[in-house]
Amino acid sequence: MLRLLFTLLLLLPLATQASEGEFFLTAKPAEQASLLETWAAQPDAARLPLLENLRQGRIAENDTRKLRLNNRLRGLIDNTLASHQLLSDQANVRLVAAQQLQKTAQPAQMAFLDRRFASEPDAAVHAALGLALANLQLGASEPAVRLAAVRLLGETGDPLARTRLEALLQPDAETDAAVRIAAETSLAQVQRKLLVGELLGQAFSGLSLGSILLLAALGLAITFGLLGVINMAHGEMLMLGAYSTYMVQVLLQRYAPGAIEFYPLIALPVAFAVSAGVGMALERTVIRHLYGRPLETLLATWGISLILIQAVRLIFGAQNVEVSNPAWLSGGIQVLPNLVLPYNRLVIIGFALAVVLLTWLLLNRTRLGLNVRAVTQNRNMAACCGVSTGRVDMLAFGLGSGIAGLGGVALSQVGNVGPDLGQSYIIDSFLVVVLGGVGQLAGSLWAAFGLGIANKLLEPQIGAVLGKILILALIILFIQKRPQGLFALKGRVID
């Protein structure tokens, strides 16, 4: 009886959207599902607004009644919406719709897809539609159709195509020998393309890990190059930066919710100031008294790091705190079917490079930079020339710590923020300094990205742990050849 009613409704092309919506609202879930399936097979451009509203969980824009949707219904709505969007006159809308259909299209939609495929003018949409169609055609009864579909799938680099082909190659799935052989070739093709995407993806996450290491190691290299001290509390400067970001987020949420979108930008100066301030205070009170005793400094700064970690643990708790990405940092660019470059990571890479550039300019183009370099090269001579070495030490230490604070902001956008955050990055950033050579910006740059990429490329092949150990071994071997790091200054070594 109901079925008949649907058909009647569908046969009334002039039926108002409101009535369809009303009907959908009152129908049972099972009825809603079959309604959606019918709509998907026979799309009507007039239904588009309704479907878009359904997706928002309502039947009309100013209707307050809530729809109760389960996951299956949501999927069906997406599918039906895509089906309707194919009727759009904008090519990019059709492209997104076709990509959606590749995943969700049902056999009932085949006739419709076939028609659109034949009449599609845009090449990219045409190809995407072809793929969606091929996915469906794998279930066709004629071997010739399946063969064509299999070949078409082989030309894509889609993870979905791989699952479909693999399913096809299961023992009793495909009976036709020719199709099986074609499927095997296609699968190999797809896998090759997917591998490229995977490797690129790993290299990209390596780059983003590298850019965080870079921010951590940059400050370390400055303080080590300048003062000859290893700051074991450097990782905690990163942590302070990340917690500053968290604080900024919380405060904005409470007092200025309008500006919450831009909280990472506001957090940058705050984190820099907090970390740099703590760094300068430490330099004045503790580290200053230990110059010329690098090993003691190492122990004292470790003590500082213990205190900082425990303090944060007492104030914020031992659990990770929640730092969320603003909308403009979520999502990403789809480069290959299996390669998405997330915006937050892209921004961080760019940010790290910008910080390196700024640091370079600061060290090479300003009075402070000149003083820093002078003190690095010959402390006594610089002091004789009227450079206030104590002040330079303090400022340089502040700069190094501040850069780590910036690193903390970056880190908060991609990783967990907890009291132990600094500890997990500090050893890697030391290795960057060791590998890159002391006080060498270029060396730090290459070492950070190299280490990051090597880490991420090795991780899936031999596991994260073995990868780390292997990298450590490689660094030890590398230092055999180049004891001064990648970009060492050659010259008379003063003992």
């Binding site: 200054l489 050659k490 010259g491 008379r492 003992d495």
Partner: protein, 285 residues
């Protein structure tokens, strides 16, 4: 007291009894030298075509230098002339980009490590006196003393009476005997200089490289050092880098001027000082 470099060093092997505590006694004159070093051609050190560059800057540029057996050679030259780099090359601290460096006729210095070179018989005194500051003066000399220097030997080593006597002789010569049990870090600058020279002496090297040995010494100490070096020449070969022309004049008959990494002039001090190019280099243009 000035001794002329002998033509055949073997003739100097017979013991000469001098008053106890003099430099001659201290350096073990009359003791049989080890047979290892082949110096049949009369040169203890030959550097040929040595070039070293640091990031494009040529610290040494096609340097040729020969030191005869028993010779006392002074090296002078303005700052940055490559004097210290040359010593680094000889002692194995820096490897030359090109050129050969032979100790005696057979030992290729460019293929030996620092400690091998030291064991072969080249001793070096640094510009800044470096001694083992936490150890006593006596212990400093004990470590430098010519002996088996392997790890195992050091575990079981006991000083023989002879060795102890030898250390005390050197200490007496250098007027450090009263300070034998003093920690070396507590010595004055000049005393450290002497201690380092003493460490060189007990090492019994064939060739001594001395980088600014009288820097920071009083006039009397400088005079004493000059006398000491003169007495060493003949039995040891010495290469002294020094800026103090008075000191150079009082010890050397042979002077080499380095400039921009190569030899500018050679000869007696008087000859060298008259050379126009040398005058130009020193006085500026």
């Amino acid at each position: 007291m000035r001794s002329v470099p002998p033509v055949h060093p073997e003739f100097m092997l017979e013991p000469i009894f001098d008053q106890i505590g003099s430099g001659r006694e201290a350096i073990g004159l009359g003791r049989r030298r080890e047979a290892g070093l082949d110096t049949r051609h009369g040169t203890v050190l030959s550097l040929e075509g040595i070039s070293v560059s640091f990031d494009g800057f040529k610290a040494l540029n096609d340097l040729n230098l020969y030191i005869g057996v028993g010779e006392l050679r002074c090296i002078i030259g303005p700052n940055g002339a490559g004097k210290t780099t040359m010593m680094d090359v000889i002692t194995g601290k820096t490897r030359p980009d090109s050129g050969t460096a032979y100790f005696g006729d057979t030992l290729d210095l460019t293929r030996m490590s620092e400690c091998q070179i030291a064991q072969a018989g080249i001793g070096r005194k640094f510009q800044k006196p470096t001694v083992f500051e936490a150890l006593t003066v006596f212990e400093n000399l004990e470590l430098a003393l010519k002996a088996d220097k392997s790890v195992w030997a050091s575990l079981v080593a006991r000083l023989s009476g002879e060795q102890r006597q030898r250390i005390e002789e050197v200490l007496a010569t250098l007027r450090l005997l009263p300070l034998a049990q003093r920690q070396a870090g507590l010595l004055s600058h000049g005393q450290k200089q002497f201690l380092e020279i003493g460490m060189l002496l007990v090492q019994e090297p064939r060739l001594l490289l001395l980088d600014e040995p009288v820097a920071g010494m009083t006039d009397a100490e400088t005079e004493f050092t000059a006398e000491l070096f003169r007495s060493l020449a003949g039995h040891h070969s010495l290469m002294v880098v020094e800026h103090d022309m008075g000191f150079v004049g009082s010890i050397a008959d042979h002077v080499t001027v380095l400039h921009q990494g190569s030899v500018l002039a050679q000869g007696s001090l008087a000859q060298v000082q008259e050379d126009e190019r040398v005058v130009e280099v020193y006085l500026g243009r």
